[in-house]
Amino acid sequence: MADLPLYNAHADRSLWLFENPAWRSNAVEKLGLALVAVAIVASVVALASDLGRQSPVLFALLVFGGFGIGATVFALGGLSRPAGVRNEGTVFSSNQARGAVGWTVGVVLTGLYVVLYFWPGALSGLIPLGDPLSQFLRDQPATLENGGQWFLYSTFYTLAVAAMGVRAAVRYRHSRYHLIRTASVVFFQTVLAFALPYLLVRLQQPELYLHYTWPLDYDLFFPWKVEELRQSGRLGVAMLLWGGVLIALATPVLTYFFGKRWYCSWVCGCGGLAETAGDPYRHLSDPSLAAWKVERWMVHGVLAAIVAGTALLWVAAVADVGWLDGGAGTFSWLYGLLIGSVFAGVVGVGFYPIFGSRVWCRFGCPMAAILGLQQRFFSRFRITTNGGQCISCGNCTAYCEMGIDVRWYAQRGQNVVRASCVGCGICATVCPRGVLKLENGPRENRVGDRQLLTDLDVLPGALAE
């Protein structure tokens, strides 16, 4: 057989995880996967024994190093393939097409979230692994008593965004839009969502998340939280004001000019994870009309709940009526449990390999709901459809992480203006005919009511006598 440079130059068929005719790992990717395997073994050992507590530094290196460096090395292995749309084998992949691997990943992730939220004690073997980094960043140990499980979780989360961010950057390196956008989400996660808040803790200040506000940070404006922040000094008050400015001023203004993408696929931590660690699962979002109907009821329902609930809490706080206090308390407990923990965490991330990477953003996030309403009705953003170039292949619809049936618009010659679109830009990237372009343009004719397929008057000169 001729010695030709294959897509996978050092290909063999030994990666048992992927019985996939179009994807075979190369040596670099195998090395990365081996390091990840080391991290998994070390995690299990630490969970099941006392060894992690005895040698936290060693185990921290094995676990965080194994996951972080392993995933990064794996990602860099992708450089051996030509830059371009490399979705080969996605629908044959056990991991990416709801095969055995995908289900296993989903069940394990879901299980980990359930344990994290409801039985954090079960993680006591792993929590000390966060100790060295916690001492360095927060100047305090990582224990169950001081929320060490959350420190551990943040560390894993940030590692996932950073390492899988490298994967996203390698994968989409032919597009500067994706390179810059990926750098942005990695920056916001590592600096604003991880390093800065914990350094503030070290300085005895409240944990401050500059890019995060009500209603996503759902209790930021709850009466007791407001009181707590006011008590904690100037930074606490500044944080409240900043939260107010962010939702009342920055959000509508930035969404008017750029669409909700300025937040959802450039800044937000949930979006950041979806765009990086969730990227392999983006095509699993359901694009059916039925799913869209459910989405609209759910996401706006959650928004209505948090708006009404926050108002209720304030009425209760001011009115000082016994039964109102009870109702308010029940609301905040229930919202925290159902939306804050189960939906955003367990379902939102745990179900990546089953329902795609944006389950929370699409069906549950009240911030996305607000941004979506602004995007749909007051924004300059749209995805422009390029005349009659669509060939109805379906790549755009398949790879839309929000389950938007992009093709439905493209094949009519109509621009895509949808509340849920997070502006990730993948539809435009995977389109093999250059049909789609994310644009911030004048609002006139933004939607357009052209129907290419049935009217055909869209194209200059077509059917005109």
């Binding site: 057989m1 001729a2 030709l4 440079p5 294959l6 897509y7 996978n8 290909a11 996939n20 005719p21 179009a22 075979r24 030509p82 830059a83 371009g84 749309v85 979705n87 080969e88 084998g89 996605t90 629908v91 044959f92 992949s93 390196r173 032919h174 500067r176 839009y177 810059i180 009309l289 422009t384 390029n386 005349g387 009659g388 170039q389 060939i391 109805s392 292949c393 379906g394 790549n395 398949a398 049936d405 094949q411 830009g425 435009a428 093999p432 005919r433 250059g434 372009k437 644009e439 397929l453 049935t454 055909l456 869209v458 194209l459 200059p460 000169g461 077509a462 059917l463 005109a464 006598e465």
Partner: protein, 419 residues
């Protein structure tokens, strides 16, 4: 009124949509033997390569047909009795129509090579071809592809994604020679080779070798290439064999006038299978393109719905993707140098590949005739509008950024200057 449409490709389905929109209460029946659903055959390659499932190539949701009251028959039209307006189906059923649209597309064209009927030698057009290719290429290591057009390069790409070694035979001295200038051909050849394809120009098959199953190709260059599978991308011809004896006039395809009317009363033809008696200036008599199929389908739809308007497809356009290199054309670009044309050309190379932008104008009037882009995206409506409104090449060059459609943050298109 009962409208019967044979063929549920882009032409047939577009016609059905137009009729339904104009005539809410007419009966519409779509007959297809290929698949009960309308599928985007432009996406076959993505199914083979694992980008998409077959279901994802359905342009319309499954409930579309019922909602639009379009009846579907998964059956084959065997023959047509134009006098009695009846269609005989393979199932034995007979369909009586008020008006009929023939939109039966193409079949791959072979050229009588010895061994072309061996197992493992095939074209790629129908879903059944895709299924066969999936079966026949399982586990193979070497394949050959024939034909310097769009299907040939798709076949090569499909095979490469499964690690198959591909020898690609192109008859002409350069790739896609009849459709584009030499520089574009060379850039695409470079892209094909970059992806590990053994591209051989000026080489044709002489015979396919093997007994029962193909084992190799003997070429006109005198080489014998081992190949466990051979893909023929040597073009298509109209699928009109089934109309023999119907009395409808055919040549290569079903002969039609400007309204896509055939020689028989109440019968129209659209898409790949239609042949224009008097083709429009600059247009081929048989246009086997997805885009023209759609426009012809709509034109036929208007006629079927009693609102006939002539076939005026507007400014020509086409597009393709050669491995990772995108191509678009709007208007006309002469493949060979033409003293009647002025030209502006720019080429550069980014980190991820070559880019080329070419504009041609009429030497006498100076007006823009066509725009070509490789590795850069064009804004279709702007380009077409410039051509229709007879803007001068100079003007367009000055305004060229308006014609760009690359994603945000992309490097600006290379700027062509007049040669």
């Amino acid at each position: 009124m009962h409208i019967v449409i044979v063929g549920n490709g882009i032409a047939g389905v577009t016609a059905a949509r137009v009729v339904r929109k104009r005539r809410p209460d007419w009966r519409i029946t779509l007959v297809s033997e290929e698949h009960p659903e309308h599928l985007a055959r432009t996406a076959w390659m993505y199914v083979y390569m694992g980008h998409l499932t077959l279901e994802q190539t359905r342009p319309y949701a499954p409930d579309f047909w019922e909602r639009n009251r379009i009846e579907r028959l998964h059956d084959r039209a065997e023959s047509l009795d134009a006098d009695r307006q009846r269609l005989a189906l393979r199932s034995g059923r007979t369909l009586t129509y008020g008006r009929l649209l023939v939109a039966t597309g193409s079949v791959p064209a072979f050229y009588g090579w010895p061994g072309q009927d061996l197992a493992g030698v095939q074209g790629l057009y129908h879903l059944q071809d895709l299924e066969r290719m999936e079966r026949e290429t399982a586990g193979i290591e070497r394949a050959a592809v024939v034909g310097g057009g769009l299907i040939g390069v798709e076949l090569a790409e499909m095979l490469r994604t499964r690690g198959v070694a591909v020898t690609y035979l192109v008859r002409e001295g350069r790739y896609f020679a009849h459709a584009m200038p030499e520089r574009e051909s060379r850039l695409i050849e470079e892209e094909i080779r970059r992806h590990g394809v053994d591209l051989r120009l000026q080489t044709e098959p002489e015979a396919f070798l093997g007994s029962g199953r193909v084992e190799g190709v003997r070429t006109t260059a005198g080489d014998t290439i081992p190949a466990e599978w051979v893909g023929l991308g040597t073009g298509v011809r109209p699928n009109v064999g089934w109309l023999e004896g119907s009395g409808i006039e055919t040549a290569r395809g079903v002969l039609v006038d400007h309204h896509l009317r055939t020689s028989a009363a109440n019968v129209w033809a659209a898409g790949d299978c239609a042949e224009h008696r008097e083709p429009l200036p600059g247009r081929a008599p048989v246009e086997a393109l997805w885009y023209t199929g759609r426009i012809q389908g709509a034109t036929a739809g208007y006629a079927l719905a009693d609102e006939a308007r002539p076939y005026v497809p507007g400014v020509f356009y086409n597009s393709a993707k050669f491995f990772d290199l995108e191509w678009q054309v709007v208007g006309s670009i002469a493949p060979e140098s033409d003293p009647g044309r002025n030209e502006a050309l720019a080429e550069d190379r980014t980190r991820t590949g070559a880019r080329l932008v070419r504009l041609q104008g009429d030497a006498e009037s100076g007006r823009l005739l066509g725009i070509h882009a490789l590795g850069a995206r064009l804004r279709h409506e702007v380009c077409a509008e410039w051509i229709v409104s007879r803007r001068s090449l100079d003007d367009c060059l000055r305004d060229l950024p308006r014609a760009g459609f690359d994603p945000e943050f992309s490097r600006a298109m290379p700027t062509p200057t007049l040669a």
